[in-house]
């Protein structure tokens, strides 16, 4: 019986997380449904959450949705009334690499392609090394978009910079244009691409296409279903916060903060602000760290560990 109570407690605890999300879904019912809902099909009684064209989250019958992935044309528009932002708390990152792995799995990427990369940075000789997860910064002045000769990469009204792999000619100019080495190229037709059986959508960046450029997309396909991007969802430390900057809120799933307060209280900054790219990703400096930097080397694959051999830290410490 005591066991039962314990269970009940954990069950209640569990509620806290799940219930919050459910709550958000429920309160916003009754608005216009998203464009991709097919009303001709019979209902199944199974509900899924989607974002409406108004940018609100509602629950609809699953059978009404033909695919959670929007068309290429639709993907140009952006989710109305939203402007997405990401906050990465460097104090909590211990290079668990769950962001990288879940992202690769979610986007059907081979291990050689990483939309999210985790760097070991050290700003100067005497300053402390820290782990630095780096997605695409979805800049508000995106040089990659400026230099694209065919409009294959574009910035949407919700701030997300996407790539249309059906349009991309693979000139790689955007890769040299991006100062953050964010973009990756499909050097061959990786077998992982074929694992994705759903139709292609720039919002999903999948299935990948040989000879084209791709990158982190802020997972708008998940956002449309009211879910956080893979990296934010799967980080065991809750390092990655995601949200709508116009709504002034970011969340890592467990904790929700007002963006402005988080940035104010934790001295949030943007990486290489001097370049004038105006990123949509903010970093919280690695102060009062929860983990020593060494803990980032635990349980790492040898190939991953070797990446850091040539860093200033790797040269002076045994990895």
């Amino acid at each position: 019986m005591k066991d039962k109570n314990e269970n009940k407690k954990s069950s209640r605890r569990q509620f806290l997380k799940k219930g919050l999300v459910a709550g958000a879904g429920m309160v916003a019912g009754g608005s216009l449904l998203a464009a991709y809902i097919d009303k001709s099909k019979p209902t199944s009684g199974e509900k899924v959450k989607v974002l409406t064209t108004e940018g609100e989250l509602v629950e609809v019958d699953k059978s009404l949705i033909h695919s959670p992935r929007v068309s290429r044309e639709e993907s140009h528009k952006g989710i109305p009334g939203r402007k997405f932002v990401m906050v990465i708390d460097l104090a909590k990152c211990k290079n668990a690499r769950k962001c990288v792995e879940s992202c690769q799995k979610g986007h059907h990427l081979p291990s050689s392609q990483e939309f999210m990369k985790v760097y070991l940075l050290q700003d100067s000789e005497k300053s402390a090394p820290y782990w630095f997860p780096k997605p695409c910064f979805h800049c508000d002045n995106p040089l990659c978009v400026s230099v694209c000769p065919v409009g294959a990469t574009y910035k949407r009204s919700d701030g997300i910079v996407l790539i249309d792999n059906e349009r991309c000619i693979g000139c790689k100019f955007c890769m040299t244009g991006c100062p953050y080495s964010t973009r990756v190229f499909a050097w061959k037709d990786y077998p992982e691409y074929a694992e994705d059986k759903e139709p292609y959508s720039p919002e999903a960046s999948s299935p990948g296409k040989e000879g084209t450029v791709s990158k982190c997309d802020f997972c708008p396909d998940l956002v449309r279903m009211g879910k956080l991007p893979y990296c934010a969802q799967n980080c065991p430390m809750g390092v990655i916060y995601f949200g709508d900057i116009d709504e002034d809120t970011v969340t890592n799933g467990a904790e929700t903060f007002r963006f402005s307060e988080l940035i104010r209280d934790r001295s949030g900054y943007r990486y290489l602000e001097v370049l004038g790219t105006r990123p949509s990703v903010y970093y919280l400096p690695p102060v009062e760290r929860q983990f020593p930097v060494e803990s980032g080397f635990n349980d790492l694959k040898e190939s991953v560990k070797n990446r850091f051999k040539n860093t200033p830290y790797g040269k002076t410490h045994k990895l």
């Binding site: 050689s112 990369k117 760097y119 070991l120 940075l121 780096k134 040089l143 400026s146 230099v147 694209c148 000769p149 065919v150 409009g151 294959a152 349009r167 991309c168 000619i169 693979g170 000139c171 790689k172 100019f173 890769m175 040299t176 244009g177 100062p179 953050y180 080495s181 973009r183 990756v184 190229f185 499909a186 050097w187 061959k188 037709d189 296409k209 040989e210 000879g211 084209t212 450029v213 290489l272 370049l275 790219t277 190939s303 991953v304 560990k305 070797n306 990446r307 850091f308 051999k309 040539n310 860093t311």
Partner: protein, 447 residues
């Protein structure tokens, strides 16, 4: 005014090359076709297996292909600028070599863009450039500029060979098949050298000479801007436009000197292309060497002196990993022509040609050092355990295609020389006007 006798004599001199293909030339052409065949095989490999067969990876996304692109485009602009300038200034010593410069302009212009196509991942979507082109992209500027340039150079070349074609049409001794005669007669546009025709031709040629110079400068600046509009350390430089133009003309003078040497030997043109011409081109090369050295120095000096973190790491790579290529391209490549042409005793045809060869190779490495080390030192340090993702090395596919490009260049040059003489026969036959002969004398005193 034309000297008919000189013209006949010259045409007789060139007739054998136009009439038949010697066995040695045939072997040469077959060899070139073999090299091009290897390139075709490499290209097929790249298309079927993907760009993974090249040495390019996510950091160094542009490799030897783009270096060759810059290199060939540079030769083309150089050809255009040299021929255009010499034409406009009516420089006397241009006559035997201006045709080569024009050939250089158009032939390398036909090969160069091929290299940027090799960089493109989806050649099947190439027409998107026209269909969805965005004016904001320097690549679109480049597409527009290069296609404009191709038309300009073709018109300029045509204007320049028109008189020779007319001469060939009228040259009864030429033993060539009837169809070729027909082609000449068609292309000659009924030009007979009436004062009216001559006036119009001169006017058109001068206009086009001005145009090709202007376009060459714009197009090559556009090419430089592809690099300098990005934020990459090492590329984000205001000096890149003029720097690229100067480097282009510099490399082109080298190629032209070598072309002069080759055709002089192969077609026995010793009496027309003399040491005088080599020295004149050599002087031009030295002036450009100085300018090139000056631009290179300015560019690296400012980067080194300010030593911004990323510039500093780039300079460090250049002086460690790329020490010898750097010294070769930016020191030896500048000093050799200065010494060879500067010191009167060394100023021989062979020496000038050898220094031209050094210049070409140095300039190729110069472009390599502009493209690759920059991509190897991005803002965020490359952290990768795969050596080929950290450092770039070209693969056999890239080198084969590079060789194929050079072979194609030689082949087209050979074929062009079989169609119209490599020397502007009509201009050579022209009786120099008194004032220009004065000018020529002035030049002569320098030699």
């Amino acid at each position: 005014m034309e000297n008919k006798d000189t013209k006949e004599k010259l045409l007789r001199q060139f007739a054998p090359q136009l009439e038949k293909v010697s066995s040695a030339t045939l072997v040469w052409i077959l060899f070139l076709l073999g090299v091009i065949g290897l390139g075709v095989y490499a290209f097929v490999t790249q298309v079927t297996k993907g760009h993974i067969v090249t040495g390019m990876r996510d950091n160094v996304v542009w490799g030897i292909y783009i270096v060759n692109f810059i290199f060939f485009m540079g030769m083309s602009y150089s050809g255009a600028i040299i021929s255009g300038t010499l034409q406009l200034f009516r420089t006397e010593w241009r006559k035997p070599i201006i045709r080569m410069a024009e050939y250089l302009a158009i032939i390398s212009l036909l090969i160069g863009p091929g290299y940027i196509l090799l960089c493109i991942g989806r050649l099947d979507r190439l027409y998107y450039l026209a269909l969805f082109g965005r004016i904001q992209s320097p690549i679109t500027w480049d597409v527009i500029a290069i296609s404009t340039d191709i038309f300009g150079c073709l018109i300029f070349l045509y204007l320049s060979i028109l008189r020779d074609i007319a001469s060939l049409r009228d040259f009864s001794e030429l033993k060539i098949p009837a169809w070729r005669k027909k082609v000449y007669s068609m292309l000659a546009l009924g030009y007979t050298g009436t004062p009216e025709q001559e006036k119009r031709l001169r006017r058109a040629t001068d206009i086009m000479a001005t145009m090709v110079i202007a376009i060459a400068i714009i197009v090559y600046s556009v090419l430089a801007w592809i690099f300098s509009v990005t934020l990459q350390p090492g590329w984000h430089s205001t000096i890149f436009g003029p720097y690229f133009v100067i480097a282009a003309v510099y490399s082109g003078t080298g190629v032209l000197i070598i072309a002069m040497w080759v055709f002089r030997k192969v077609y026995h043109l010793d009496q027309y292309i003399t040491r005088k011409h080599f020295v004149a081109m050599g002087v031009l090369m030295v002036v450009l060497a100085a300018l090139f050295g000056y631009f290179t120095f300015s560019d690296y000096l400012t980067k080194w002196y300010g030593s911004e973190k990323n510039d500093e790491s780039l300079i460090r790579i250049l002086f460690t990993e790329y020490y010898w290529p750097f010294i070769f391209s930016n020191y030896i490549g500048v000093l050799i022509p200065l010494l060879v042409v500067g010191i009167a005793k060394l100023r021989t045809i062979t020496n000038i040609t050898l220094s031209a060869l050094v210049v070409i190779v140095a300039l190729w490495f110069n472009r390599y050092l502009i493209v690759i080390p920059t991509l190897e030192s991005p803002y965020l340090p490359i952290q990768d355990s795969r050596p080929d993702w950290v450092n770039y090395t070209g693969t056999w596919v890239e080198f084969s295609l590079m060789a194929a490009g050079v072979a194609l260049f030689c082949l087209l040059f050979t074929l062009a020389s079989k169609f119209v003489p490599v020397m502007n026969v009509s201009e050579m036959a022209e009786i120099p006007k008194p004032e220009s002969s004065e000018l020529f004398k002035a030049e002569e005193s320098l030699l």
